[in-house]
């Protein structure tokens, strides 16, 4: 059954990812991306990483992608125009390169990564893996964690400054939303850690 679920999620993930880059409508792309993230969360669940799965949904689907949608709507984007020789050439080159890269990767794995049955001892203790992650995050990775908060602060200030534009009082709604989404993106980490 795990395998079946894996197959389903994997297919969904790959399909949605493809649709993200194929669909001409940015809104559709964003929605497919949300779906891809959700199937990714499913894969995380299969890998016994429940906490990561939930945070994936909260942060990516709940915060980041909403921000994307916001911007798309704010800019009032409709279908992309993808015409012209230059675009076609680049598209061709991109696909060829992508396939080349994938082929290379497969070759790489084939050469070096034996398809071993990898199942480690079950990580999650009885209390669930939230606690375990919290332990690691707040001991070994405490310093990076704190640095992360600085990073978010910097990003927040940067977003506000950039989006504010030059003149005063220009579109005051956008920075507020950015800041909101930022703070939200940061919050689950803290929340999860403290649990």
């Amino acid at each position: 059954m795990t395998l079946a679920l894996f197959a389903a999620f994997a297919a969904l993930l790959v399909g949605c990812s493809l649709m993200v880059i194929l669909h001409r409508n940015p809104v559709a792309s964003a929605l497919f991306l949300v779906l891809a993230f959700c199937s990714l969360a499913g894969l995380y669940l299969l890998l016994h990483a429940e906490f990561v799965a939930m945070v994936q949904v909260i942060v990516y689907a709940g915060a980041i992608m909403v921000l994307f949608l916001f911007v798309i709507m704010y800019l009032n984007l409709r279908h992309d125009v993808e015409q012209g020789i230059a675009v076609a050439v680049r598209r061709g080159a991109g696909w060829i390169l992508g396939i080349l890269l994938l082929a290379e990767t497969v070759a790489f794995f084939k050469g070096r990564w034996a398809e071993g049955p990898v199942s480690a001892p079950d990580l999650a203790p009885v209390a669930g893996n939230t606690q375990a992650i919290g332990q690691v995050l707040y001991t070994r990775y405490l310093f990076p964690f704190e640095i992360t908060s600085v990073l978010l602060l910097v990003a927040m200030v940067g977003a506000v400054v950039i989006a504010k534009g030059r003149g005063p009082g220009l579109h005051p709604a956008a920075p507020a939303a950015d800041a909101a989404a930022d703070a939200k993106a940061a919050a689950p980490d803290h929340a999860g850690g403290e649990a």
Binding site: L101, E104, F108
Partner: protein, 644 residues
């Protein structure tokens, strides 16, 4: 406290630089002189403290900070005051202060008054660093520092081409000497693993066998450095040209301080030199040769400062051969007395020049005795002192050197020295008579402006004159009141003072030579040298007291010409060294520099320009293109790892 002695002039330099013209002339003068005077007071206090210690323990050390530490090798910026450096530091600060004072008057009307004192103070700092250094590296800093300052000061009037050239010459010649010093220093380091005096001198007897090649090489290299700095054969040529600088500079650098650095260094390294008899011999020969050689040139010079310059070279020769015969104490003694009377001579000459509004040619002087009474008086004192008439300072030190040479069996050197003494007396009194006696040959213009120097210039002259009179008495055995009045007794005051450095009765090499002269021989030697001096004076008097022309030139024109042109040595150097090097430089410039070096650089630039033109095509400014190439690169990298 020790570190403050060199630091004060440096601080004055800093203040001078920072405040600049806001200081004003008076402020600049006060600052510069005050700093040097404070150094002098500090030095005096330090020396008094030093004297209060028992003779064996007379060293004061000041570690300022660790300059560098590489493995076991460590160099501190550290200062050392022992009897040897105490003499030097007193001479440098004392005479230096007087010259500073004098300069206030002499340079009063110069436009670059502030710059002058800036350089002077910087020079004092460098010289004091050199003298007080506790290791070779710090000494080298001072050594280079004085070289730099002498360049700056000689070329002080840089708008004069001759001054600029003289400064450059001094610098280049000094560099050759510095190369020797560096070589010697590195040799010592290679053998002893240290640059600290104490450790080098302690290690030297262990790592070197006396007379071996290594120690001889090291000392000869050091000697090369010393000849450069102290203007000995073969590197003396810069000193006479250095007269292009302002006269106080000549007095400071070329009489009292910088040129004595070589002597000081040889004396400082006496342990090394006594271990290398060949080097010691060389020192003696070079010294004696220079003493005689320069004296002969001095006879035929007409520029008052040039006469003094060659006199300096000659007197330095005396100091050298004193060291060479092992009488280091006598060398230092002469260094001290020479500082007094040579500074006096230069400053007196400066006073004359000042009075004559810049005239330096003795042929256009004469009969100044009554017009410049103070200057005349002190110059007379100085001439007598340098000629070696007792009881003036020069007599004691020069006689001690000659006795030491005789006693140590260097008869050739002794004869040369004696001849030099005759010539010294002769040319000094030639100078005296041409300048102050006879009839006036002044131009009308100069006559009109003639005036005695201001008090600020005369006062140092008087002080120096007094020192020139009594300075020699430190060579007397004051404390042995009842015993013989000789300078050759091991108990003379200065010699006893220096004993902790050079060993009782001189260094090891000298101990066997110096003390054992009979009473009669000593007095005989004294009589001979006094007679030589008197002979020289008498000759000068006969030739120049009344004459208006140049009697030597009339009687022996070819000899005179040879002497006047300084044996054509400058031209010789020019032919054998300067011109070939210049030609080589020309070739290097036109071919190597312009074609190869510039060609390479320009070629690189062209290649870059061409390559940029190609690469510019790829800089589209579109992220998409960049991403494409980035990915291509990643794919290529992975492919590389796959294939490998």
């Amino acid at each position: 406290m020790l570190a403050l002695i060199p630091a004060l002039p440096l601080a004055a330099v800093a203040v001078n630089l920072i405040l600049g013209d806001r200081l004003g002339r008076r402020g600049t003068a006060f600052l510069a002189c005050g700093a040097v005077f404070a150094s002098f007071v500090l030095a005096a206090l330090s020396v008094i403290h030093l004297a209060s210690l028992p003779p064996g323990a007379r060293t004061m050390v000041a570690d300022v900070y660790t300059w560098m530490r590489v493995g076991d090798f460590k160099v501190d910026v550290a200062f050392l005051l022992d009897p040897l450096s105490s003499v030097m530091v007193l001479v440098v600060t004392g005479v230096g202060f007087l010259i500073h004072l004098y300069s206030v008057g002499y340079m009063a009307h110069d436009a670059s008054f502030r710059r002058f004192f800036l350089y002077l103070n910087l020079f004092m700092f460098a010289m004091l660093t050199l003298v007080l250094a506790k290791n070779f590296l710090v000494m080298f800093v001072g050594w280079e520092g004085v070289g730099l300052c002498s360049y700056l000061l000689i070329g002080f009037w840089m708008d004069r081409p001759s001054a600029a050239r003289a400064g450059m010459k001094a610098f280049v010649v000094n560099r050759i000497g510095d190369f020797g010093f560096l070589l010697g220093m590195l040799t010592l380091f290679a053998w002893t693993g240290s640059l600290d005096y104490e450790r080098v001198f302690a290690a030297a007897p262990i790592v070197f066998h006396p007379g071996t090649l290594a120690i001889t090489f090291a000392t000869l290299a050091l000697l090369l450095g010393a000849t450069g700095k102290s203007a000995q054969i073969p590197l003396y040529t810069w000193l006479p040209d250095a007269m292009e600088g302002p006269t106080p500079v000549s007095a400071l650098i070329h009489a009292a301080t910088m040129v004595t650095a070589g002597v000081y260094m040889v004396a400082r390294c006496h342990i090394l030199f006594t271990m290398a008899p060949f080097s010691l011999e060389t020192v003696a020969v070079i010294g004696a040769a220079t003493a005689l050689f320069a004296a002969t040139i001095g006879v035929a010079q007409n520029d008052i400062k040039r006469v003094l310059a060659y006199s300096t070279v000659s007197q330095l020769g005396y100091m050298f051969f004193a060291c060479g015969v092992g009488a280091f104490g006598a060398g230092i003694f002469h260094l001290m007395t020479h500082a007094f009377f040579k500074a006096l001579l230069f400053l007196g000459a400066g006073s004359v020049i000042h009075a004559l509004s810049g005239e330096q040619d003795m042929r256009k002087m004469g009969g100044l005795a009554s017009r410049l009474p103070w200057t005349h008086g002190v110059m007379l004192v100085a001439c007598v002192a340098i000629a070696g008439i007792p009881p003036f300072a020069g007599f004691f030190s020069k006689d001690e050197i000659l006795s030491a040479a005789f006693a140590s069996g260097h008869y050739g050197v002794w004869v040369a020295g004696l001849l030099g003494a005759v010539l010294t007396a002769f040319y000094m009194f030639r100078l005296y008579f041409l300048t102050f006696r006879g009839s006036s040959r002044l131009t009308h213009e100069a006559e009109h402006h003639l005036h005695e120097s201001p008090a600020v210039m005369v006062a140092p002259l008087v002080v120096l004159a007094a020192l020139s009179v009594v300075g020699g008495f430190v060579g007397l055995p004051f404390q042995e009141g009842g015993r013989r009045l000789t300078t050759l007794e091991g108990g003379a005051a200065l010699e006893r003072w220096l004993a902790p450095v050079f060993g009782e009765g001189g260094a090891a090499g000298a101990s066997h030579a110096v003390p054992h002269l009979s009473f009669t021989t000593e007095w005989a030697l004294i009589a001979v040298s006094v007679a030589a001096a008197a002979f020289g004076i008498a000759m000068a008097s006969r030739a120049y007291a009344k004459a208006a022309g140049e009697p030597i030139a009339e009687k022996a024109p070819r000899l005179y010409g040879l002497l006047e042109h300084k044996y054509w040595i400058d031209e010789l150097y020019d032919t054998i060294a300067v011109r070939p090097i210049r030609a080589l430089g020309d070739v290097l410039w036109r071919f190597w520099d312009e074609k190869i070096v510039d060609g390479t650089v320009n070629g690189v630039a062209y290649v870059v320009e061409w390559a940029s033109a190609v690469l510019r095509v790829f800089q589209t400014g579109f992220v998409g293109t960049y991403a494409l190439f980035l990915t291509l690169g990643v794919a290529a990298l992975i492919a590389h790892y796959l294939v490998r």
